[in-house]
Symmetry: C2
Subunit: 203 residues, 2 copies
């Protein structure tokens, strides 16, 4: 059985999208800056001049996420905004949409969207069953990530920290709780385009 | 002339102190967790098992900050809560307190507190003059850091990212602005206790 992961690009000030997310601006206004490391716009894949020896590069981080992901959980808003852009499921694996509106499964080219109306923990449980040996990626948006963290179902958090302050938008890690959550860093890949930090949730 | 730096311990969710900061809980409730890397409580200084070769360790990060700092800027609340705890200036260098209340300079053992009533930019300018060849540290709290960032007077930001989610408290990087701020990572030191990330502000 795989694990349940969050992996998200964030600005140094913690935003996973800019303000005013819409079909015209699926990453919010200015938020596409957060995905430059993924799509190579301006990235030269060089090691940053900071004395570190990265364990890989941006493309390897992305490829590993792709290879490890056996099922995906997304929020309703991400589905509504993303489905026409993707023209398929976001990853070629079963994708579970957390929503209040019941709806028949929607088969796409690579896999099927399944609509889950009884909450994020149920969506994650169904995704775990579908993922087999691979991992479940709680992809986003920020709200479904926060719900999954609050529900205690996340095993690992990867932040692809982009060297920019967005100064506004959707804050990824904004979970109300009286208890701290201890983490342990388990991976670090540093490039000029992003600092990829992975933490295990300590239980 | 040195540069103007922010250097702060933060949780992965971006808090530089827990909730309810007071003289009894100067780092807020539970916020002392953020300074374990500084004071060595439980830290074993070992390299994390993540394949990286850190450029130094927690003590070296702290020692470098100490050596580079020629003047400090703090907020009024940090002064009020800290002065009796420290029994001196927080670093042994001229310290400028951003406040609305005019007050005579207060000499301490190592250096003097100077109270600045015309804003953070003025406090930073006075600190730059006092620091000589060394750097100015905008130490905190979060509000004075945000004011300094908003005023555009910060050259470098170091986040000592502690592997914990605090889920509440004072958020360090929460500056309202219509413009993005581009950064460049210039240093990275990774230990089991913290991931020390330094960014230059690109102008």
């Amino acid at each position: 059985m795989g694990i349940v992961r969050v992996s998200s690009s964030v600005s140094l000030d913690g935003f996973s999208a800019g303000p005013d997310v819409s079909t015209d601006a699926p990453m919010g206004v200015g938020g596409e800056r957060l995905h430059r490391w993924l799509f190579g716009g301006g990235g030269d894949r060089e090691v940053a001049a900071d004395g570190t020896t990265p364990g890989g590069d941006d493309a390897a981080v992305s490829a590993e996420l792709y290879a490890r992901t056996g099922a995906v959980v997304i929020g309703r808003r991400t589905y509504d905004i993303g489905v026409d852009l993707w023209g398929d499921t976001p990853f070629p694996v079963p994708t579970f949409v957390v929503t209040h509106r019941a709806q028949e499964p929607r088969p796409m080219t690579s896999a099927t969207f399944t609509f889950v109306t009884d909450g994020v923990a149920s969506a994650v449980a169904q995704a775990v069953a579908a993922a087999g040996d691979r991992d479940v990626l709680v992809m986003g948006g920020a709200e479904v990530v926060r719900q999954a963290l609050a529900a205690g179902v996340v095993d690992e958090i990867t932040l692809n920290v982009v060297p920019v302050l967005l100064h506004g938008g959707s804050r990824l890690l904004d979970v109300a709780s009286d208890r701290h959550t201890e983490l342990e860093r388990t991976a670090l890949v540093a490039t000029a385009e992003a600092t990829h930090l992975t933490f295990r949730v300590v239980r």
